[in-house]
Symmetry: C2
Subunit: 193 residues, 2 copies
């Protein structure tokens, strides 16, 4: 039990998300977030490096999930298969949270600064993925390419998952996108519109 109201971080995240939805990211001041959480602006910045970071608290956990999935893939798995395993592990975790993911994504999509922050989180994910592949003995360039390709697939599958009415699971969409990426890079002509 804390000495003050417990879970200050959680209250800040909740308040920030609410306000970003209600009035938009730019129209929300950090002082307002802190006030709604029953804290002061200064305390907000002790918990989060900046006004954007409060929306990305889960990024660290996701990255650990990715890395351990790659590390845990069978030694016989090809790099792209290890990456696929990581993406599927993430899909399982995210599958239950589609509504909240969609709310969050709506906020992010509406603001360029937040999109920038999301992109650097994905880049960090890619770098961690590449490192994990190198740990498995994958050559430098191949590791970087497999990681970037995996993140590209994740981005596109995730976007479709949130857009769709929701028949297919995230894992399915990831698998399909991975297959389609293989076809596309092979120069195979895909279905036209």
């Amino acid at each position: 039990m804390g000495r003050w109201e417990p879970n200050a971080r959680g209250r800040l995240e909740q308040a920030a998300l609410e306000l970003y939805i209600e009035r938009g990211y730019e129209q929300t001041t950090v002082a307002e977030i802190a006030k709604r959480a029953g804290l002061t602006e200064r305390t907000f910045f002790r918990h989060y490096a900046d006004k954007r970071e409060v929306l990305f608290a889960g990024a660290g956990a996701l990255q650990e999930l990715f890395v351990s999935a790659v590390a845990g893939a069978p030694g016989s798995a090809a790099p792209i298969e290890a990456v696929g395993a990581a993406l599927e592990a993430a899909a399982v975790v995210l599958q239950e949270r589609r509504d909240s993911a969609r709310r969050r994504q709506t906020v992010i999509a509406a603001n360029a600064e937040l999109r920038e922050r999301e992109l650097i989180k994905l880049a960090s994910l890619s770098a961690a993925l590449a490192d994990a592949l190198r740990q498995r003995g994958v050559a430098d360039t191949a590791a970087g390419l497999a990681a970037e390709a995996g993140i590209a697939v994740f981005k596109i599958a995730f976007e479709r998952w949130l857009d769709e009415t929701g028949r297919r699971s995230l894992a399915q969409l990831i698998q399909e996108s991975l297959d389609e990426l293989r076809d596309v890079t092979a120069g195979r002509p895909s279905a036209e519109r």
Copy 2:
């Protein structure tokens, strides 16, 4: 002849790059940049939306180059081939500017905000590439994947081009990376370390 000293934008870009190199991005204030360019802080913000944007003035031209290269690719070219053509066109333009590209990249790599801005420029490039592919009749998902894959290849080839002592051209490195991406996504085991 302009009424004031001409080429205010160019002077601002020059001054900013110099100062970012001399004392670092964070340690440079906009007022200092403006002063070195013989202007005021307010005028800086009339030319550039923020302190980061002054480093990315060329992004628009690069994007147009990408788009017109895709649009100009033969109708028989597969999506990934059209993307490859765009990357090669960019490589030709960049090939002559390795030193200045390296200086710029050193500044960007040293600061997270600048890396974020670079990533969103690349994302914008990817979106434009995908749109250009859709114009050619490529299906939505395939267009998005081909574009993201192309940008991934560009990122990695560009990085290697700047790192290497410089034997291979950027165009060569892009071609090799494109080939390696095809192998990696096909699950083909690549050389290990």
